[in-house]
């Protein structure tokens, strides 16, 4: 039995899940996303270095996947900011950077339009906010 695939799968799943949640939270709270981006890149490179120098095959796999995920998360912070601009993710009205986005982009909104169950038909922009779970 070879458990390396399972180790890689669990690492990838957890790294995506935690990264997914962390990117949304950090982007919503950070006044300047450059700092968290630099931190994610630094941690990603350090983790990849760890993968390179360790002799343990399982750790090599875990660090290798984790590091690339962190590097991607840095880019995701930037992509998340674009989602805010398009109204595809909710802006935080208490974050000065998001207040500026709300003023400059008419598509930006504080509403989370994805926070509901599917209803099985197309929804108009007028109807969409009414369907959100509060």
């Amino acid at each position: 039995m070879n458990t390396l695939g399972l180790i890689a799968a669990v690492t990838a799943f957890l790294a995506i899940w935690i990264g997914h949640v962390a990117v949304r939270k950090v982007e919503a709270e950070a006044r300047d996303i450059r700092l968290p981006m630099i931190i994610a890149i630094t941690l990603g490179l350090l983790t990849e270095y760890g993968s390179l120098v360790t002799d343990n095959w399982s750790l090599k796999t875990v660090f290798g996947i984790l590091g690339i995920t962190l590097l991607w998360d840095a880019f995701e912070l930037y992509r998340q900011q674009n989602r805010i601009k398009h109204g595809h993710a909710p802006a935080n009205p208490n974050n000065p950077r998001h207040i500026k986005i709300l003023a400059e982009h008419s598509t930006a909104t504080t509403l989370d339009l994805l926070k509901r169950d599917p209803i099985g038909r197309s929804v108009s922009p007028v109807e969409a906010p009414k369907l959100i779970h509060h």
């Binding site: 695939g5 990838a12 799943f13 899940w17 949640v21 750790l59 690339i68 994805l114």
Partner: protein
């Protein structure tokens, strides 16, 4: 200084990238209620990875399994995105077995 882990990281990243069209097309053609099917396929692939002797083979198959499992948790939100017009909406979806029963279950979302 063996780059096995780094290469695995890059390969994993590529496979997960293929998960995006999997979720988009999966939801478009089969609906979000296909999630238990996608999740089961994922776990079966993951199980198969345990029996592959080659480290590279085991990792690639394992990560493909993880991508299916993760994808199954994204289908519900993808259905909402399609309803909002952010992705093409397909009203004429394939009706998979037990669709009505699955619709009564709470679809997973992480």
């Amino acid at each position: 200084m063996n780059p096995f882990g780094i290469l695995i990281g890059i390969v994993t990243f590529t496979i997960i990238g293929l998960g995006f069209p999997l979720v988009i097309r999966g939801e478009r053609y089969f609906g979000y209620w296909s999630w238990p099917y996608m999740m089961s396929i994922g776990f079966l692939i993951l199980l198969a990875s345990l029996f592959i002797q080659s480290d590279w083979g085991s990792v690639i198959v394992g990560v493909i399994g993880a991508t299916f499992v993760w994808g199954s948790t994204e289908l519900k939100e993808q259905a909402v995105r399609a309803e909002l017009g952010w992705f093409p909406f397909n009203a004429d979806k394939v009706r998979l077995p037990f669709m009505e029963t699955i619709k009564k279950w709470k679809a997973p979302h992480l």
